[in-house]
Symmetry: C2
Subunit: 237 residues, 2 copies
DNA sequence: GACGCGATCAAACACGTGTTTTATACATGC
DNA sequence: GCATGTATAAAACACGTGTTTGATCGCGTC
């Protein structure tokens, strides 16, 4: 009961979602994308701007020029649509600053590379894939049932990457509590440059950072952090 | 129209709110506090746990053993009740780590004092006035119309205090962009130890920090930050 | 042409929200 | 005694939410 299954698309496969290829099932006359694709595009934009709870199904339907029932028809429920958006965000985010670093680089180079690629992506309202970062931020502030998934795919690998670099730099192992604290200090500084609704609301004269300021901030974080790590390595546990 | 003003308490004075002293207007027979006071107590707890939007008027009424209309009667509307809670939080927060420091102390002492008093208060679920910090955190994540007020009373004084100490330590003035970046780095590290719903939801094995770990984290932040500041002071702009 | 089927549509449903209304009990002041 | 003003109570209001329903359209196929 309560799920008539009207032979509609199956809303279960969390990972597969092959979805029948959907070649040209729609009327070839209309130039616009299929409803499902329009909903995904609109959902990507709205969820990244306002978070899962800040977007209503009616918002999505209206902006996608779709019927109110379209979300439930194509994605099962609102969370199903959000899950697909998060899946795209994870694909976009999880690769970046930890995997494309040369294996033979020094710990210092790794940390600098992490910061100088990560911070501009977080801070700049321009550029690609900021929407994925915004999804992450909303999840951190106001977690949804998808939070554990996100933590496993994007947070943990970053923590491990940074912890390994910091431990090597300090000449200790990853079980040393100082390593964890340094990783937290580094990550906290990076995240502080993420766009923040509070400062926009609370400080009327706030202006966005320029690209040059963002680069300066990234360099600052790297210098600042490496100095801190070296100092803690000297003074011992 | 739409506001009959039934000679009820005036819900307008944003700043004054003297509120007639309210000596013993209630029947002396009942041992419990007046409805207004019970609502304030419950609101303090619930708003600090779940934020303004996470608490409903029905939650407040139920837990305070008050009628549904009591919030609107005593405080005008839900935001009026929240405003009184925030006012108490501001009184509790704005004094602390910036004003009770000796005027003749060195910049390093000031920064250490700031961190070692601020971080335990942020991080510990025990101790006094954590509810006020939780209110601040909810405002930062999801600002209400009261955000500008909070920014002016608690954020700006802290920023000025830290900026002055950092500038003195670096031997430069507060207009130096490096000063602002160091203040952000310091504050970001402190805030990262604030209780975080994401890590509770996303990491099932999460456990609260002990008092000793919190003290160690505070010392870490101070050492780490002072090292970073000194390094940036050396290398120049 | 009749049928099946995926997709869309308008409408309704069920519920939760902040707020307002109307009535009533109770203490106080004249 | 009685009006007055304060406080509480139960119900309703007005609206927004996610979801479901039943009908209909446009196809392609037998």
């Amino acid at each position: 009961m309560s799920r008539p299954s009207r032979s509609a698309p199956e809303h279960r496969g969390a990972g597969s979602h092959v979805r029948n290829g959907r070649g040209g099932a729609r009327s070839a006359a209309s130039g616009d994308a299929a409803t499902r694709e329009r909903l995904l595009a609109v959902a990507t934009r709205l969820f990244s701007e306002r978070g899962f709870r800040g977007v209503t199904v009616r918002d999505l339907s209206r902006e996608a020029n779709a019927n109110l029932a379209a979300v439930n028809y194509h994605f099962g429920d609102k969370l199903g649509l959000y899950r697909e958006v998060v899946a795209m965000a994870l694909e976009d985010v999880h690769v970046d600053p930890t995997t494309d670093v040369a294996a033979e680089s020094t710990p210092e180079e790794r940390i600098r590379h992490y910061v100088t690629t990560y911070v501009p992506r977080l801070a700049s309202p321009r550029g690609r894939a900021v929407w994925a970062q915004k999804i992450m931020r909303h999840e951190m502030n106001d977690p949804t049932p998808l939070a554990p998934w996100i933590a496993e795919v994007v947070i943990l690998p970053r923590m491990r990457f940074l912890a390994e670099a910091v431990a090597t730099l300090m000449g200790t192992d990853m079980g040393d509590p100082r390593v964890g604290r340094c990783v937290v200090s580094l990550q906290a500084q990076c995240l502080s440059y993420m766009p923040n609704r509070f400062r926009e609301v609370a400080f009327p004269g706030w202006r966005e950072m320029t690209d040059a300021e963002i680069r300066a901030a990234a360099t600052h974080i790297a210098d600042f952090t490496l100095a801190g790590i070296r100092r803690l390595a000297e003074q011992g546990e």
